[in-house]
Symmetry: C2
């Protein structure tokens, strides 16, 4: 998930000033409201070395009344702490009702730095996760607001920051040997971080990923996250007090389509964006396409047989904008494959029997057995796109769906499956052109409906939902692949190539 | 937890007939209501070999309309199932809304039989638990009713049943070599079962433990469990439909003191009883007491020093009836111990600061560091006794507390602590005598308050809550010890002996 982030995001000074002028007093006010309503808040900062946790905490507390918060620097355990269970120091540093506690690295240390440095032993990892999850679950159920912030930079940026620190005697001490080792093995350490994000991203304590290369951007985004979360909790608490719990409950189970509100629309700039990064100018000529296609399809045919012999199941999910080219890509992918070894499931609105089950049920039923390939044309991710936006499920439901879907895919991967998910990306103009072409072509008119036009009107909402989906559910064992789709040739080749590569890689193992 | 069960529970034919005449039509009616309301139900049967799962399922379905349920025999995986993730077969066998599915052994197989038989590898256990928990959590959140029933017999009974089956050619095939192996290693297999019960006993999918030596008793109890659970869910669904969710919510957060209702009071006979088993005639003479006390206290003194040197923390919790002898036992236990190495925390009603935190917070704060001994005079278990009965917390809150407290104790044990919990058991007459003696003795009058008398009036409610607590929270790493306390001498010696034994055992490891 992390390598997909757009780390170039930034704010210039003027933008920053404007943003902060709005957010800073807001945050101060929210703190006072939390105090009045007795809402306790824990804010945990995680992220790579030199990603700026200390600096950002320094910025954050500027907005806060110092009588109402504590900051805890969580470093190596003290002698006292070593003599207790590892969660003890967090239990004892828990804010009381109405107070805010901020943690400069947190209880996640145990499954991140300490794990990487082998202070946490291999067989302790599962127990540590259990302790962490139990901790968050029970304090959240008791009313604790848990805000988890992950500061992301990449290997190069980290190296640059370390080098700068090392170049001066005054700051060199801040970069340890262990820091440098983690930079060298950045990929491996990133995997640990991604596992952590996946296993602990819950509806009651979700992760907020902050692009932290540009410090101004990160500061403003952190302010926005904290303000938004607190505003929601304050709202909730007020409604609870005012009318009993009924209104609250209604809202939760009611129209869940609305996107997180609470702060102004401009703050969408803070959402993690992945789609915007796609380079839609990528293309192949017809000749390039044909020669590549031919080679890849032949390869695919061979690999398909090999998959069958080795009993490896393959699950391919396709999502994308309407007219994004899913159908064409699936067709080229399967053209040369033995039809007895694969099946394509088009996913429509659930029928009555499907509606009488859990939303994942129909997909579980259709999962391939070992050695077979199943292709889903639209997938379980409808839960966090159309169902979210159209309000077919409640907000609580789509919020917990990320973890549910990650868990399902983990089960599949643990059983040996190759799981890939494709997002067919086109821009709005390209979609308009394709819609028009379909309407004008009598043979393709069936492909375009009023609903397509209605969905198109909600482009921005979908884009936001898709970005959130991509960041929360792209995992090492079931990655999302964004396919630059303005050129159909390019898109089809990229899909085929990605599948072929993934299979070849597995067969090598 | 399991070895504490009273397996002698039974019903004679007349009692059984009467019970069933009431429960059978009730269950049929509830099934119809579930169907009408679209409530899906999964009933999982687990328990030792020859504990009668098949027989009991046969009895249970007699009450049900055959058009509304399926029974799945979950044996070794089929070839088809082996080619999917292990949860796949349960996803595909999930009842649709309004239907009931019954599983003759279930998804727990993976962490029980298959684990014992080493089909589940050691490093797969943690993942299997995660899959199971994720499965139950998400289907419960979606409205699935999950009823989990564990049939308990002991090693001797199992042996007897196996022998009987083996004695006839017609039935001998039903006892496998693996069955016999599990009987031989009953203790080890029981530990796996207890771990399972502890890790998966949640508020939304709790375990129901059924004493299954007497088949009539087990049948009637299973009927009562299923009827009670369904009655509650039907009630809930009706309220939801009728008034929106407000009434429901209110009830959940409101007076939680009430014990599970729904079926008639006589059904208390089906509750797991542990206290009733305590032999309160156990006693020592003054001479026996003095000589034992002297020896044990000297031992304790020595062991205390050893604990300090070996940096082992010890946590001792004391609960029991008012005037049950907690104070006296603690006094004798600590008399010869170095006061710098232990501390006794009396637990009163929470003060304002404590109320401003999670209910476990104050206990976490007071946990001993390595090498120290902390004794709690009354403990965190107040949550599921006084807070439950007096309605100081909601039903949801005390129901999820069992797992929260087990999780806390697991964290402590994982960090190396010895954790023991004592329940000081006396009978009602003995309590009356002690209350009276206190009232008549000017020096002890302070020990008896109006509240004690009020609590005494709720004896039956407490007894039920205590029994449930003992069964749900006695774990290998933090066992409950029921101390037969009518004779104070006996009780004090048993406490000292238990502590000394536990420490000696640890020091040997």
């Amino acid at each position: 998930m992390l390598e997909k982030l757009d780390l170039t995001k930034s704010l210039n000074k003027a933008e920053y000033k404007e943003k902060m002028a709005e957010l800073e007093p807001k945050l101060g006010k929210l703190q006072r409201e939390c105090r009045r309503l007795g809402i306790p808040v824990m804010i945990a900062f995680e992220g790579y070395g030199a990603s700026g946790k200390g600096v950002q905490i320094g910025e954050l507390i500027k907005a806060l009344d110092p009588r109402g918060f504590e900051v805890y620097a969580v470093k190596n355990e003290t002698e006292e702490e070593k003599m207790h269970p590892f969660m003890w120091r967090f239990w004892t540093k828990m804010p009381s009702k109405g107070r805010i506690a901020i943690y400069d690295s947190s209880w996640y240390r145990k499954v991140l730095i300490d794990r990487f440095d082998k202070k946490t032993k291999k067989d302790e990892v599962a127990d540590a996760y259990r302790s962490i999850c139990s901790f968050e679950e029970q304090i959240a159920a008791d009313g604790m607001v848990i805000i988890k912030i992950f500061l992301a930079i990449d290997k190069k940026e980290q190296k640059k920051r370390f080098d700068k620190l090392l170049s001066s005697d005054e700051t060199a001490w801040r970069v340890s040997k262990a820091d440098q080792k983690r930079n060298k093995s950045f990929g491996k350490y990133q995997e640990m971080n991604e596992e952590m994000l996946r296993r602990t991203d819950t509806e009651y304590a979700p992760w907020n990923i902050v692009e932290a290369v540009d410090r101004r951007f990160a500061t403003a985004k952190i302010y926005a996250i904290v303000a938004q979360t607190l505003a929601e909790k304050v709202e909730e608490a007020k409604r609870k007090t005012a009318k009993g719990q009924d209104a609250l409950q209604e809202e939760e189970s009611g129209a869940g389509g609305e996107l997180r509100s609470g702060i102004s629309v401009q703050d969408r700039q803070f959402k993690n964006s992945i789609l915007a990064k796609a380079d839609l100018s990528l293309s192949y000529t017809k000749e390039e396409y044909k020669s590549r296609l031919d080679k890849l399809q032949k390869k695919m045919e061979k690999l398909h047989g090999e998959l069958y012999r080795r009993r490896i199941p393959v699950i391919l999910g396709f999502e994308g904008w309407d007219a994004g080219g899913k159908g064409g890509a699936i067709k080229r992918l399967t053209e040369k494959m033995d039809p007895r070894g694969y099946v394509v499931h088009p996913t429509a609105s659930p029928n009555d029997i499907e509606k009488a089950h859990h939303y994942l049920w129909r997909f579980w039923v259709d999962m391939p057995k070992a050695g077979h390939v199943t292709i889903f044309d639209r997938t379980w991710y409808g839960r966090v796109m159309v169902e979210r936006i159209e309000g077919f499920c409640s907000r609580k439901e789509w919020q917990r769906a990320y973890k549910e879907m990650n868990d399902m895919e983990k089960d599949l991967a643990d059983a040996g499956a190759i799981v890939l998910k494709f997002w067919m990306q086109i821009d709005k103009d390209e979609q308009a052109a394709r819609f028009k072409a379909r309407q004008e072509n009598p043979e393709k008119q069936w492909k375009i409906t009023d609903e397509d036009w209605r969905n198109r009107e909600k482009w921005d909402q979908y884009e936001e939902a898709v970005n959130e989906m991509l960041i929360r559910t792209s995992t090492p064992h079931a990655p999302w692949v964004v396919v630059e789709g303005n050129c159909k040739y390019y898109a089809r080749i990229k899909v085929l190539e990605t599948v072929v590569d993934a299979i070849e890689k597995r067969l090598e193992d």
